[in-house]
């Protein structure tokens, strides 16, 4: 432990790489599922759809008050039992750790993205809705072509922060015995005793990915900037 030895990291790279890929895949799926579901949730609340809006609001309040790690547990142990009851097979129907991770992360992130979109929707000027009405645009076109594009532009920095948090949270899958980037590193570190090197490299990887994401969003924001918009 006197001097740093990074060759160990090189040897371990394939394993780290598979952990990283899992983290990225989980982030990507949870992002897509979360954004689509979250946008639907936000719209249901925005339209104040009777009963459903209340249910959605309750769901979001619930999800936001419990830690993700707990949701993972619940999902992993509870859903198989519920499925077993529903299917009438008596015993639990296991859905597997990987499926649990993907579904739970998607449902969990939906609650957070939904709040971001909901606030964004409220920030859109009433005149935008009125202009759409006056032009006879359908509700669908109004939201698709006019309202949501503005919401996404305004909310993109917050959506990015949430997604970076999501990427970091993928490490929680260790409770399901799945191996993400951080999980891979700690396992290796325990095996070869090179904790400092391992964790240093991991920090660099997290840093690289987060700043790449920030750069990407900055580029997107530039590309889709609302020219002349007052900030």
């Amino acid at each position: 432990m006197n001097s740093l030895d990074f060759s160990i990291v090189l040897q371990a790279w394939p394993y780290l790489w598979s952990g990283l890929l899992f983290s990225l895949a989980l982030t990507a799926v949870a992002f897509v599922v979360g954004m689509v579901l979250g946008t639907c949730f936000a719209l249901l609340q925005h339209f104040e759809v009777p009963v459903i809006a209340r249910i959605v609001r309750g769901y979001i309040a619930l999800i936001r008050s419990i830690p993700l790690i707990l949701v993972l547990f619940w999902f992993f142990f509870l859903v198989p039992i519920v499925l077993g009851h529903l299917s009438g097979s008596g015993g639990p129907v296991p859905i597997g750790a990987t499926w649990t991770a993907f579904i739970t992360f998607g449902l969990f992130e939906a609650a957070y993205y939904s709040e971001i979109i909901r606030v964004g929707l409220r920030a859109v000027n009433r005149g935008q809705f009125e202009a759409c009405q006056a032009l006879a645009l359908s509700t669908f076109e109004t939201y698709r072509s006019v309202i949501l594009p503005q919401v996404l532009r305004v909310a993109s920095p917050i959506i990015l922060s949430q997604t970076i948090i999501l990427f970091q949270d993928t490490s929680l899958v260790y409770v399901l015995s799945l191996t993400d980037l951080l999980g891979a590193a700690s396992k290796l570190a325990q095996l070869n005793g090179r904790l400092v090197e391992m964790y240093l490299v991991i920090v660099v990887v997290y840093l690289a990915i987060s700043s790449a994401a920030s750069q990407g969003v900055a580029l997107l924001r530039k590309r889709y900037a609302i020219a002349g918009a007052r900030r």
């Binding site: 006019v146 503005q150 002349g228 918009a229």
Partner: protein, 256 residues
């Protein structure tokens, strides 16, 4: 009651907008109280009156941005009820220009003008683009077609808003104080376009306090106060010799 509010049979064919006994309430406050107004095709009406008198509410009822609580509104032969299909059929034929422009900030000037013709009228992109450039030329702003609303002056933005409405080829245009948010030096460029539009024969209902414009193009000036139409006259008569005390007070205030 029916007798009173029914539109005169002989004028019915020409009345493109018929407002009969319309009442609009916001909670317990009555913003419009038994409004009757009939607009013939090609007619230009200027609506004026003190702040809060219900001018905006009235023209917003004509394209159902506000829903009236009682009475009837018939636009181009279609009665406005709760039926979304009818409402959209009316809105296709009624263009509206707002005080605050309400352009879509994330779309270019051309795209602002192309969106509704493509999505509502079913034009192809190329057709919509051609039409947009045509109307942008009409409002003398076609050289800015690829810019964004935030890059234009207020007067330019309002002219784009007029072009955007015209791209739907409406039969009626509603204007809600189109020049009140503009710097004084930009008022004329917008009014000039509106005068041209009037000369082309467009049916127009304009809320405005621009007396020069009213004199030049209005067939009728309608004066509102506290949710009611108090006086209706041709502009010469209205400005020279208003018959009600309230109209005289109002004119005294805006002319100083």
């Amino acid at each position: 009651m029916v007798q009173q509010t029914a539109v005169d049979e002989t004028s019915r064919p020409q009345a493109i907008v018929a407002v009969e006994g319309v009442v609009k309430r916001f909670g317990r406050f009555t913003a419009l109280n038994d409004i009757n107004l009939s607009v013939r095709a090609g007619e230009k009406i200027v609506l004026c009156g003190p702040s809060g008198s219900g001018k905006s509410t009235l023209i917003r009822c004509i394209n159902h941005i506000e829903k009236h609580d009682a009475g009837r509104i018939v636009v181009d032969g279609v009665e406005l009820t709760d039926r979304m299909g009818d409402i959209n059929n009316v809105r296709r034929e009624v263009g509206m220009v707002f005080q605050s422009f309400n352009l879509f900030p994330h779309l270019s000037i051309a795209e602002n003008c192309m969106l509704a013709p493509m999505k509502v009228r079913g034009l192809s992109r190329a057709e919509a683009h051609e039409r947009a450039l045509g109307f942008l030329r009409k409002v003398r702003i076609h050289d800015q077609a690829n810019k964004y609303p935030g890059q234009l002056s207020g007067g330019q933005q309002q002219r784009v808003a007029i072009a955007r409405a015209l791209c739907m080829q409406p039969k009626i245009m509603l204007f809600d104080e189109p020049t009140s948010a503009l710097d004084p030096e930009m008022v004329k460029e917008v009014l000039d376009i509106m005068v041209e539009l009037a000369r082309d024969g467009m049916t127009m209902v304009c809320v405005t306090h621009e007396m020069g414009f009213a004199r030049e193009v209005a067939d009728r000036v309608v004066f509102m106060d506290r949710g009611a139409i108090v006086e209706e006259a041709d502009p010469e008569t209205f400005f020279r010799a208003p018959s009600t005390e309230r109209a005289r007070d109002f004119l005294g205030q805006i002319i100083h």
